[in-house]
Subunit: 190 residues, 2 copies
């Protein structure tokens, strides 16, 4: 997505060889026009799939996910992140390990909001090692819901998340694909 | 706002005499059409005020705030919530006490995203005791930014938040005002 790549080039900040900060338009300050454009793009990429729900994890996934859901005219569900869990029968949960923070969080979705009748599109801001997406997939499995596909704002192709999803035959669409950071600059994949 | 009041009557769940659960359309599952309508409403209520930024706190404020920002054609900033703080010169912080959870969280905004040139509209999902809004106001004070007003999705008029803001002469607009819960039913203020 041209608009997003330009924004990343202009406003993204590369830290070292693995980290891209996009907190001035995506995950702290948010550019609403860009979010709306991304929602239209995701909706088009996954059109005619009979999607009944868009799902993401709080907080950075919420803005792109809600605009995608608006375009698809379906509800959006965001999983809650928790450090500790009180297990009840009311929720689906999964563990999500963060390589960056080197800690495990839990994600939680109320059973009322995902059912075996749902065809779900997962949206997330980053795809790196794929832990958050895999956690959401566990929840869909537990709910016996169908995974239609995964929409990612920024994919880092040099980390293992994309490969893990490709191996499972999952339909993944990323709006920007980054193959490397060189001399503080972003290199986009073809 | 008629649409919101009807949604609350139809889908809100009253727990005891103080709690309204709206997790099926606002703060876990999200109705994107309703969020878009609320964004248009807030933008209209605070039109012609020269707003430069919309600010909220993660996570439940993000959806209404981003649609408001889209309508006003300005960026949205969401404050991050943290249990513990590493103080640095890069951030504004404030403490927010939760009466429900009986614990203090910190909210954090990067200094790059709020400046003394900003005229800020605060958006939040609930106004009860006003702690989150007051935390955001502390951050605006520290940044020497102007507070233009406060937009609330659901106000509970019987808790002290509204009074605290009225005393300070702040322009508050709430899309639904609840004066009581009686026999498990919501009573709206006139």
């Amino acid at each position: 997505m041209q608009l997003l790549e330009e924004k990343i080039r202009r406003e993204g900040r590369v830290l070292g060889t693995e980290v891209l900060k996009v907190d001035n338009f995506l995950n702290h300050q948010v550019d609403p026009e860009l979010m709306a454009a991304m929602g239209r793009e995701f909706a088009q990429l996954f059109a005619d799939k009979g999607i009944t729900k868009v799902m993401t994890v709080e907080s950075s996934g919420i803005a792109p996910a809600v605009f995608t859901a608006l375009e698809l005219q379906v509800p959006m569900v965001f999983a809650r992140k928790k450090k500790s869990l009180t297990l009840t029968d009311d929720n689906y949960t999964a563990d999500v390990y963060s390589f960056t923070k080197q800690e495990t969080n839990h994600i939680i979705v109320d059973k009322r909001f995902i059912s075996s009748n749902d065809k779900v599109l997962l949206i997330d801001d980053f795809l790196a090692n794929g832990q958050a997406v895999q956690g959401m997939m566990e929840i869909l499995d537990a709910a016996d819901a169908d995974l239609v596909g995964v929409g990612i704002v920024i994919e880092k192709t040099f980390q293992k998340g994309r490969e893990l999803l490709d191996e499972k035959g999952i339909h993944v669409e990323s709006l920007a694909r980054i193959s490397a950071f060189e001399d503080g600059q972003v290199v986009f994949a073809d």
